[in-house]
Amino acid sequence: MPRDLALGLSTLALSIGYYAMTLGIPDSQLADAIGPQGLPRAYAFVLAALSAILIGRSLRSNVRLHSDPAIWRVVGMLGIGVVYVFAVEWLGYFLSIAGLIVATTYYQGGVVSRHVLIVALVGAVICWLLFVRVMGVPQPPGWWPALL
C-alpha cells in the first residue's frame, strides 16, 4: 500500500471519528452563533477534504508502506515507558527510575552487568536528589518505604 494512502485513510478515519464526537457535545444556552461544536466540525471537514486529496494523489505514488526493521526496537522502547507509568505508583520513584535506566541501557545494546546496575543506581540517586530534594517534587514513594 502506498505510504500516503495509509496516512490519508488514517486521517480520514480520524476526521470521521472526531466529527462523530462533536455530535456528543451538548447545546448550551450560553452558546454563541458558532457554538462549541462549530470550529471542531469545520476542522473535521477540512481534515477529511485534505485526506481525500492525499488519497487521490497517493494512488499515483510509488512510495510504498514498508515495515521498518527498527519498529520493534521503537515498540520496545515505548514499552519501557509504559511499564514505568504503571509501575511507578506501586514500586515508587527510586526503584522505577533505576529500573527504567537498566531496561533502556540493556535494550539499547548494553548488557546487564554490575557496571550497568551501578550506573542505574547512581542515576536514580541523581534523579531523586534533583527532583525530590532540590526541586521538591513529591514523586510517588511506592508501597515499600512503609515497611522500613
Binding site: 452563533a33 476542522y43 509504559v82 511507578v88 534523579c127
Partner: protein
Amino acid sequence: MIDALVSIFTTPLGVSAFAGVAWGIMGGALPGISPSITMALLLPFTYGMDPMLAIVLLASTYVGAEFGGSIPAILIRTPGTNAAAATVIDGYAMKMQGKAGEALGISLYSGFVGGMFGLIVLVLLTRPLARLALAFTPPSYFAVGVLGLSVIASVSGDSLVKGLMAGVLGLMISTVGTDPVTGLSRFTFGSPELLSGIPPILVMVGLFAIGELLVQSGEPGWEKTDSTSTRIRFPSPAMWRRLAKPQAIGSVMGTIEGIIPGGGGTISAFLAYNEARRWSSRKEEFGKGSPEGIAAPEAANNTVACTALVPILSLGIPSSNSSAVLLSGFLMHGLVPGPLLLAKNPEFVNGLFAGLFAANVAMVVLGYLIMTPCLWLVNRPKPYLMAFIYAFVVSGVYSIETSIFHVGLVLMFGVLGYAMRYFKLPFLPMVLGVILGFMVESNYRRSLSLSDGDHMTFVQDPIARVLLALAALVVAGSLVRHLRERRTHQSSSAAPA
C-alpha cells in the same frame, strides 16, 4: 535597561544564562539532538523556577545549542543541529588540515558576533512592533492568530497538503478541554485531567524529545570524537578582518530569516554560506577549508537565536520549532507574550534582553572551557545517554503537575511524533495549531459575539484588516513558491537523463 544589565551580576540571571548555554552546547553537540529538542528536554525542569530565570535559561539554551551543533560538524563531519550542516563543508575540511581548534574558534567567535548583532536587532525592533499591538481588539487578536497559522503554508516542506493536515491536527488538539465561551467540556473522555486542555509543553516534549528518542532507538550509535587533541584557538587580528565580511553577511541573513515566520537557522546558514562565497575574493577556497565558509553560517544561525524572539515578544507568534518551545515556556509560566507583556512587565523583557547578552558572553567563555567535558559527554556510550535522557524526561514531565497521566500523554505524543516522522508530516504546523488554536477560536467567537455575528467586523477593524491581508499575502506567496517548485521538479524529472 541599565538596571537589567546590572542584575546579571546581582541576581541569579547570569547563572541562569551560563547554565542554559552549558546545557545548550552539550545538547547541540549530540548528533540528532536539535536546539528545539535540547530546549524541550529542559522545559519541565523550569516549572518551579522564577519565570524570568526560566525563560532566560531556555533562551540561553537556544544560543548555546547553535554553537554546540558546530562541534561535531567540525570534528566528525556530523552536524549536531540542522543549522550546522553548512558548517560541515569547510569545518571538517579545516579539521582534516589539522586546524580543528582554529575552526572551532572561528565558529565560536562568529557565533558571538552574530548573537550580539541579533540582540541589537531584537532590542530595536520589539518595542515599536509591540507598541502597535497595544491597540489590538478581539478581531485583531484573531487576525494575529490567522497570520501565525498562515505560516503553515511556508513551513510545510515538500507537501503543502501534509503541512495543512498537521496544522489541522494541531487545531484539533487545541479544542480538547473546556470550551472558551460556554464552559462545556469537549473531547475530554470524562477525564478531569483533560478539562483544562492539553498543555502545549506536553505536545512539545512528546513530539520532539520522546519522538526523537524513539527514532534514535532504531539508529546506530554515532561516531566518537578525538577528545584529546582538540583545543579552541581564537582567530588572529588579521583573521578577524578577513572574517568581518562573511560575518556581516551571516548577521543580515540571520536577521531576515529569524524575523520571517518559517525561516530559522538552517535556511539562514545555507543562504549566508552561498552569499559569503558569492561576495568573497577567495571563492576557490570554499569547500576546501575556508574560514569564511564557517564564519558566515555560524554568524547567521546565532543571529537567528536572538531575532527569532522578535515575533514572539511583539506578537506572540513563534517562527520556528525552537521559538515554539520557547513560547510554550512563556505560557507554562503564565506569561502571554505580546504587547501586554511589554506594557505590564517591561522589567521582565529587559531582564530577558540582559539574559541574552549574558548568554552570548557565556557562550564564548563556556565554549572555551567546557569543550573537554562536552566531548566526554558526547563520547559516552549511546545506551547510557538514551537511558538518562529517558529518565530525565519522564521525571521532568511528572514534575509539571505531579501527574502520571501527563507522563502517559507525553508517551502518546512521542508515538505521534514518531509516526509524523515516518509519514513525513512536518512538526511546526502542528505546533502552531496547538499554540494558536485557542487564541484563534476564542477571539473569533468573542468578535462575533460583540458584532452580533457580523463577519464584516474582521474587515472593519483596521489592524485586523492589515494582518489578514498580510496573512493572505504569506499564503499566496507560499502557494506560488510551491507551484514553482513543483513545476521545476516535474520539468527536471521529465528531462532526458
